[in-house]
């Protein structure tokens, strides 16, 4: 079995554009789930809205930069729309509504009804020339560090992407260390108690949901720009749950957890994929029970099992404090 190939694959993915998109989205989900305790099970919708807002604006004749603004704004609006009817109610209603809304929105985007704007099942391609034109590295030049080879195009995306991640993480750090951040944590701990102390819990939750959504939309925008492509099947429900794993793996309610979680997750996701592919092809008993397409699904099974195992055995993740996790309610 080619272990070094699997590891190389993992490392390239761990630093690549998808990891960046996960990190940004996870920063947003962490604000909602980790700090405020909001169960948003439709996080992928915010990424989708960001990506489509950008692509559709360019398609309609706007500039890419305007498009990014439209995408982020659309995510804020989506957050408000989902939050207004649900955030006065018990926490599970938000979870139910967001998971339902995300999939409905995706089906709407891919339906012929909206095709003139969203491109239906085809999606929209080739809208980010303005970004790639700024690339100083030369799109087709290869850059190598040891066995890791990346194109100039990818290198540019990675540098811009991780810079954005860093800036957003610092902004969130500033926010959660403020009295506003303390208010969010208080809501996470006990909503009614916080309300009894004269705090407008509803508005704070709405802010966290919308702001977290806006952050997720930036993740969607980065991914769309890198791929020069948006399509509805990039925003399947599983993305939301991957982001949950990323947040909890890194440490929910920590500043740097989402970034670390994204890198580690993406590494293992690709590592497992390489291993499973090879095992399916070369190990006879694996090949006997799984076809190659089935083998590719095993990593998703592990995502689900990993999410459960983390919550049961290490809820504080990698960066969370053991002491904090042990405090009883």
């Amino acid at each position: 079995m080619d272990w070094s190939g699997a590891i190389t694959n993992g490392i390239i993915s761990a630093l690549g554009p998808v990891a960046i998109a996960y990190a940004v989205s996870a920063i947003g989900l962490n604000l909602q789930f980790g700090f405020t305790g909001l169960l948003n099970f439709g996080h992928v919708a915010f990424m989708m809205v960001g990506a489509y807002g950008t692509a559709a604006t360019v398609e309609a004749g706007g500039s890419l930069w305007l498009g990014i603004g439209v995408g982020i704004l659309a995510a804020v609006v989506l957050g408000l729309l989902l939050g207004l009817p649900t955030l006065r109610l018990r926490a599970d209603y938000l979870a139910i509504t967001t998971i339902a809304a995300a999939e409905t929105l995706r089906l709407l985007v891919r339906s012929p009804v909206t095709r003139s704007v969203t491109g239906g099942v085809f999606g929209i391609q080739g809208f980010a020339e303005e970004f790639h034109a700024l690339n100083p590295f030369g799109a087709s030049t290869g850059y190598a560090i040891g066995p890791l080879v990346v194109s100039g195009r990818r290198l540019f995306v990675m540098i811009v992407g991780w810079t954005v991640v860093l800036i957003l993480a610092l902004i969130v750090r500033r926010l959660v260390k403020s009295p506003w951040g303390r208010l969010l944590k208080a809501i996470r701990e006990d909503e009614d108690a916080t309300r009894s102390l004269g705090k407008n819990v509803f508005v704070a939750k709405l802010q966290a949901l919308a702001l977290g959504g806006a952050l997720a939309s930036v993740g969607g925008v980065l991914l769309a720009i890198e791929q020069q492509n948006v399509s509805p099947d990039s925003f399947l429900p599983q993305v939301t749950f991957i982001i949950y794993v990323v947040v909890i793996l890194g440490g929910a309610g920590t500043i740097w957890g989402p970034m670390l979680g994204a890198v580690i997750f993406q590494f293992f996701f690709y590592f497992v994929d390489s291993v499973m592919r090879q095992a399916q092809a070369n190990v006879s008993w694996v090949g006997a029970i799984l076809d190659s397409a089935g083998a590719a699904q095993i990593r998703f099974v592990l995502v689900g099992l990993g999410l459960m195992a983390l919550l049961v055995f290490r809820p504080q993740g990698m960066l969370g404090s053991r002491r904090e996790a042990l405090v009883d309610g």
């Binding site: 500033r174 506003w180 208010l183 009614d192 309300r195 009894s196 102390l197 819990v201 702001l211 904090e324």
Partner: protein, 278 residues
């Protein structure tokens, strides 16, 4: 005895009686759950600057009445006012801001916040709680002022040595004290305590009682739910008895002790059907 309590001498001990200087006036409040009439209070006034005890058998509707008055539940009908201003249908957080703060029967410490943060959070004036100010800055002074105020309260309630611990690591009695400190941080006029003595060890009871009468002595009004009649006799200026949602008696502690309606309500409830716990 505080001024408000002194003014109660001469007020007739009958349900719904008018008080000389009421801070809270309740009129015709009802709330039912399914077929069960949980609260049906036709008239109730609470005298300013007193410790008023709210007693009654399990299921009498005490907690439900608290929930209704503080905006945590919605009444089917009725009106009530604080300092003459109606506060019906106002969200819970605004009720607190208008000066009526409640605690919960089961303590609601915010476990993964430090004790100090629990109290600082309750400050009603902290500018940094606006998202915008949190982003652009300029909230440090307000935070420092709130911290000074919070530390003074922690000292008053004997929790200063725990300031940097997580609230989740406090004992039951310490949590009760924390809730008192937190409630005081909101700068209320009226504090509603739902069973403040429940589940704490006897050694702490006396300390807690002293704190409660201390609140009255500095001009606050306290309403508290309690089961222990000794406690009620010791610290309250006025007692309101609730049974099956209705005010069946009120008066000074001594006048309540021998009231046959009250005895009947307690014994009746104990003899009769099992009543749903609140």
């Amino acid at each position: 005895m505080a001024d408000g309590a002194a003014a109660l001498t001469g007020v007739a001990p009958r349900p719904g009686v008018a008080k000389p200087d009421p801070i809270l006036v309740v009129e015709g409040v009802t709330r039912s759950f399914g077929g069960l009439q949980a609260v049906d209070v036709s008239h109730l006034e609470v005298q300013r600057n007193t410790v008023t005890a709210l007693i009654g058998p399990n299921g009498a509707g005490k907690t439900t009445l608290f929930n209704l008055l503080t905006g945590f539940d919605q009444a089917d009908s009725g009106s009530w006012s604080l300092n003459g201003g109606p506060i019906v249908g106002i969200p819970a957080y605004q009720v607190a801001r208008r000066g009526m703060v409640r605690t919960f029967q089961l303590t609601r410490a915010l476990p993964r916040l430090t004790v100090l943060d629990n109290v600082v959070l309750a400050d009603p004036h902290n500018p940094g709680e606006s998202l915008w100010r949190a982003l652009i800055g300029g909230w440090r002074r307000g935070e420092e002022e709130a911290t000074v105020k919070a530390k003074a309260l922690l000292e008053r309630f004997g929790l200063e040595h725990m300031a940097d611990e997580y609230a989740g690591s406090l004992s039951g009695g310490q949590r009760k004290l924390l809730e008192l400190a937190r409630a005081m941080m909101v700068e209320p006029e009226l504090i509603m305590l739902d069973e403040p003595m429940a589940g704490i060890n006897p050694a702490l009871t006396q300390q807690l009682l002293t704190h409660i009468t201390g609140l009255r002595d500095e001009g606050k009004t306290v309403i508290f739910v309690e089961h222990d009649m000794d406690v009620v006799q010791e610290i309250s200026d006025w007692v309101v008895v609730l049974a099956e949602g209705q005010v069946i008696a009120e008066g000074t502690p001594s006048s309540i002790a021998g009231n046959p309606d009250v005895i009947e309500a307690y014994l009746g409830a104990h003899r009769g059907k099992a009543v749903e716990d609140e």
